[in-house]
Amino acid sequence: MSSITYLEAIRLAQQRALKEDPRVFIYGQDIGAFGGAFKATKNLAKEFPGRVLDAPISEDAMVGLAIGAAIEGMRPIVEMQFADFSTCGFNQIVNQAATLHYRTGTPCPIVVRLPSGGTPGSGPFHSQSMEAIYAHYPGLVVMTPATVEDAYTMLLEAISIDDPVIFCEHKFLYYHLKAESLPSAPAEALPFGKARIARPGRDATIVAYSAMVHEALAAAEELVQDGYDIEVVDLRTVRPIDTDTILASVARTGRLLVVGEAWPWGGVASEVIARVASEGFGLLDAPPQRLNAKETPVPYHPALWGTHRPTASSVANSLRQLLEL
């Protein structure tokens, strides 16, 4: 009966926002009649004439337009065709959207949707995970939903809050992940910025987000045969980051592995480890570990790609090492 995909949840959240809030419009490349490169806006242009607008290939100006519209009271959603292309709109995101409220007191409620992460064969320029780059800048909220339900409720939440939100939706989950139904309102979901215990356990904590939550859960299942009970924390939102839930989990397990699909250097995993090391050093029974992508551009060939990013089996290996430390 599982019928609603992660991608459909994103489409439905946008449909609902367009229906309920006249301030919402969507702007992006090929999103109008064509329905978007991934069909995240399929039929929305027809259902909401004039509010789902095709943009020229101008990521900088797309974000600039959203910022200007937000200043005048709109709630724009910008669809980047791929997260990777958001670098062409980087200046507007980090220098204008992120600074606007601090500088002027005027909020900047925009959502920039980034189809993120790797899929087989996508290569260096259609596979990136950009969350750490944007999380670095004060003023930006960075969401990384891992479930169909979160993709739906968190996108609605992203549209409703007064801050600019970088919404990292994972392309690998678009079609693979399904749910039977969606929550009727964001209020049914966890509070904004709160991490979720995706799997309770007692022997070690894996902190993950986005697609890596599912690799972590699979690894945790694998370790059941070894007699271990692994807790998995899904960050949901990487900025703000829910340090309290992470520390509480580490307090229960004493061991920490952070898994991220992005590169390790200066990333979300590093941040989590830094926080646990400085705020919860006494909770640790072993040095905290991280597992990230390999330090090269994301490779094209599926055989290389499958090894480049963390997988259930590489997470399980890291866990076994952590449990022996």
Binding site: S58, D60, G68, A69, Q92, R103
Partner: protein, 350 residues
């Protein structure tokens, strides 16, 4: 595309016709514009003095020589319009509704200023009132103004215009290009004024662009183009007035290009020694404020006595305002919330 054809026909109108412009510019507008230019000039001279005496930190970036062009845009905008000025637009800012008081507060870092010490100098604005606060990255404001105009279109506000200013150097950015192209696609009521002051900081135009005339770019974008004489107030008022009116009528984006010379360095730290004397002595280097005064007096729209009394009154206002602001409190780091988020709930858990 009809757009390209109409651009061609509009292109033929770009030769500024002094007769028709002069005829259309009314006395009161010119007087108001001149008075505002005077305020900008004297205020900026005070800013330079405060910078030299160490009272202003960071930088001071002046619009000396560009007041006519700047004010001509500001006076043609009205409440409900969108305005994103750039660094040499003190005159346009004052005409749009910014004040001597808030300028001084922002430069001097008063906690009572609109930027509260969080940003300074020319990076000021009140976006919620249609007065955008520029970022330093050139070209970025073009698409931002487009966005505000798209919002106004959604709101059903038909008569609003958006305007922004840039230098010839800023037209080399990808951001400027993307913004112009987008404005044309959406047929937005956008006016972009390019102050071609011959030098982008120290870089001369031959190292900035290779086309013979920046105005030719209007046709490339599919927008209307207008040329103004940058240091001639009456011409600027006429040309920009027409551009703003055309945009307001719904006839799409308008690009205005004006040649002029800045009569100061890029900032007060810069002596502009790279600008050759011969250029400074050319018609381009004539001071727009002095020319405007002569022109208004010649038209009998202003008398020498009145001009002198305005000068004294503005000087007094600037001095008194500066003295007041110098006594105002600086921002207190211990009272800052150090929170960049607007949503109150996000302040604590970062």
């Amino acid at each position: 595309m009809t757009k390209a054809n109409s651009t061609k026909s509009k292109g033929s109108e770009t030769k500024s016709s002094e007769e028709s412009s002069t005829a259309r510019v009314n006395r009161e507008l010119s007087r108001r514009a001149y008075r505002t230019m005077l305020e900008a000039r004297l205020l900026e001279e005070k800013l330079a003095a405060l910078y030299r005496s160490g009272k202003i930190v960071g930088g001071v970036f002046l619009g000396r020589g560009q007041e006519a062009l700047s004010v001509a845009l500001g006076v043609h905008l009205r409440r409900g319009d969108i305005y994103a000025p750039l660094i040499r637009d003190q005159a346009g800012r004052l005409a749009f509704g910014d004040t001597i008081l808030d300028t001084l507060r922002t430069y001097l870092g008063s906690s009572l200023g609109s930027m509260r010490g969080r940003d300074g100098n020319i990076h000021r604005g009140r976006p919620s009132e249609g007065y955008h606060a520029m970022i330093s990255h050139l070209g970025a404001m073009v698409s931002t103004v487009c966005g505000s105009l798209v919002a106004k279109r959604f709101h059903g506000e038909k008569s609003a215009v958006g305007a922004t200013c840039i230098g010839e150097g800023g037209t080399s950015t990808g951001s400027f290009h993307e913004g112009m192209n987008m404005a044309a696609i959406e047929n937005l009521p956008l006016v972009v004024v390019v102050a071609n002051n011959q030098y982008s900081y120290s870089t001369p135009n031959e190292r900035q662009f290779a086309c013979s005339d920046l105005l030719a770019r209007a046709a490339g974008y599919g927008v209307s183009g207008h040329r103004a004489v940058g240091n001639d107030l009456v011409d600027c008022l006429g040309v920009i007035g027409k551009a703003v009116a055309t945009a307001r009528r719904g006839e799409g984006p308008q690009l205005v290009v004006a040649d002029l010379l800045r009569l100061v360095g890029h900032g007060e730290h810069d002596d502009a020694s790279y600008i050759p004397e011969v250029m400074k002595k050319s018609p381009l280097g004539r001071d727009c404020l002095e020319l405007a005064r002569q022109s208004l007096i010649a038209q009998e729209w202003l008398s020498d006595d009145e001009a002198d009394s305005w000068h004294k009154a503005v000087e007094k206002e600037v001095e008194e305002t500066a003295s007041k602001v110098l006594r105002e409190p600086a921002p207190d780091p211990s009272e800052e919330d150090w929170n960049a988020f607007a949503s109150p709930s996000l302040g604590r858990n970062l």
